[in-house]
Symmetry: C2
Subunit: 226 residues, 2 copies
Amino acid sequence: VLQAEKLSKQYHMGTVTVDALRGVDFHIEAGEFVAIMGPSGSGKSTLLHLLGGLDNPTSGDVLLDGRRYRGMSDDQLTLIRRRQIGFIFQFFNLLPTLTAAENVALPLVIDGKRPEPEHVSGLLALIGLGDRHDHKPHQLSGGQQQRVAIARALVTQPKIVLADEPTGNLDSQSGQAVLDLLRRACDDHDQTIIMVTHDHHAAATADRVVFLKDGSIVNTLDMNKT
Amino acid sequence: VLQAEKLSKQYHMGTVTVDALRGVDFHIEAGEFVAIMGPSGSGKSTLLHLLGGLDNPTSGDVLLDGRRYRGMSDDQLTLIRRRQIGFIFQFFNLLPTLTAAENVALPLVIDGKRPEPEHVSGLLALIGLGDRHDHKPHQLSGGQQQRVAIARALVTQPKIVLADEPTGNLDSQSGQAVLDLLRRACDDHDQTIIMVTHDHHAAATADRVVFLKDGSIVNTLDMNKT
Ligand SMILES: Nc1ncnc2c1ncn2[C@@H]1O[C@H](COP(=O)(O)OP(=O)(O)OP(=O)(O)O)[C@@H](O)[C@H]1O
Ligand SMILES: Nc1ncnc2c1ncn2[C@@H]1O[C@H](COP(=O)(O)OP(=O)(O)OP(=O)(O)O)[C@@H](O)[C@H]1O
Ligand SMILES: [Mg+2]
Ligand SMILES: [Mg+2]
């Protein structure tokens, strides 16, 4: 359902060039749960942003259901992201003026849908934030903000969920609740999950683990066969 | 060297009151390394901010070398923080317009000292950021930004280091480098470290682990005796 072909990304700073991604080939089927691990700075967030069409590669392509992002207009890409992809950012990107519930409901509102209050509160309750409904981000702990970002990405039940280190600020119990939620989205709703993580226990939830190092894929582990 | 007496913190939101900390008693000796663990939202960041004088308690006191923060002027508190405390924030608080090296050197500059370039680059190299010297925060990965925040807190070799989840965005290898650095600061330079963490492996580096739950200390583990 999602594919990267010889995906490369370079950042240019004056005379210095940073090769964040070097010709990455990657594919994921519908209903699959893949974890991406690797050292800090190895290109994981960069790969996730390119897969989500949030940034353009220097060379190579991303294909969603066989259609290349390259050549799509900004409007087309925006619509794809809105309708098919849920993104959990490494640092959340919550709107500071909205409450937890409003932040979670935002993707529905943006898509012109009317958010069902029970759906939003239900999702908040599922990740332990039932009593933080009306708190704004600055009135939430780090891990609570992270969970709002997670709920927001799941509220539209998107076909593809791109999660950048979703348990980085969570204790093992709230982290497990998040992993269970992602696993259920995959098993029960056939959603496709790509999760960047530093947590080996989190990676063990996935069907396959891909290892990135210095911008290249160096190893893949099939969790279902081990 | 640092002590909390019946420390309480309440947040008020209209008619709702959140008891973030409930009468916490805590003390740490010079040269000690204490980890604070607990569920997301249990009050860890709140406790750390009160210990660092970055916020005022609702009731109770914090004492540094026997002197209460209560009653100190803003200027006095600011001077204490600048001279004696290094703070690693859960979300870093880097200045976006400064490079990694400039962010790291900032506490020295603020204190009217001239930063020695080799001292700053040496510290960056120690945590694997030698080749990211001139990158601004938006040109760094999440874990790289976290490491800049760590180096910044250590650059003045402060008596007390307050670290809020310093390995949350790091893979096990760069995380270990950070823990080694903190352990060395404690063992070799008699610095006092208080580290909030969700990572059990990180907590194992400490001399003592304090467990927080719903704003109260519920357990303490002495790591040196086990
Ligand atoms: N300004 C505020 N107004 C209302 N409630 C707040 C405010 N700031 C924090 N809280 C609440 O206080 C509690 C403690 O927050 P704190 O940030 O100390 O938790 P924490 O233990 O650091 O959590 P985490 O592990 O998720 O970072 C949380 O339940 C949070 O919702
Ligand atoms: N705008 C930029 N300009 C220059 N270099 C950049 C820029 N953005 C990222 N980089 C570099 O690209 C590399 C990959 O960054 P990326 O954020 O993808 O890493 P990551 O694997 O997500 O790391 P982490 O685990 O620390 O979050 C890093 O070494 C970083 O310094
Ligand atoms: Mg990243
Ligand atoms: Mg916190």
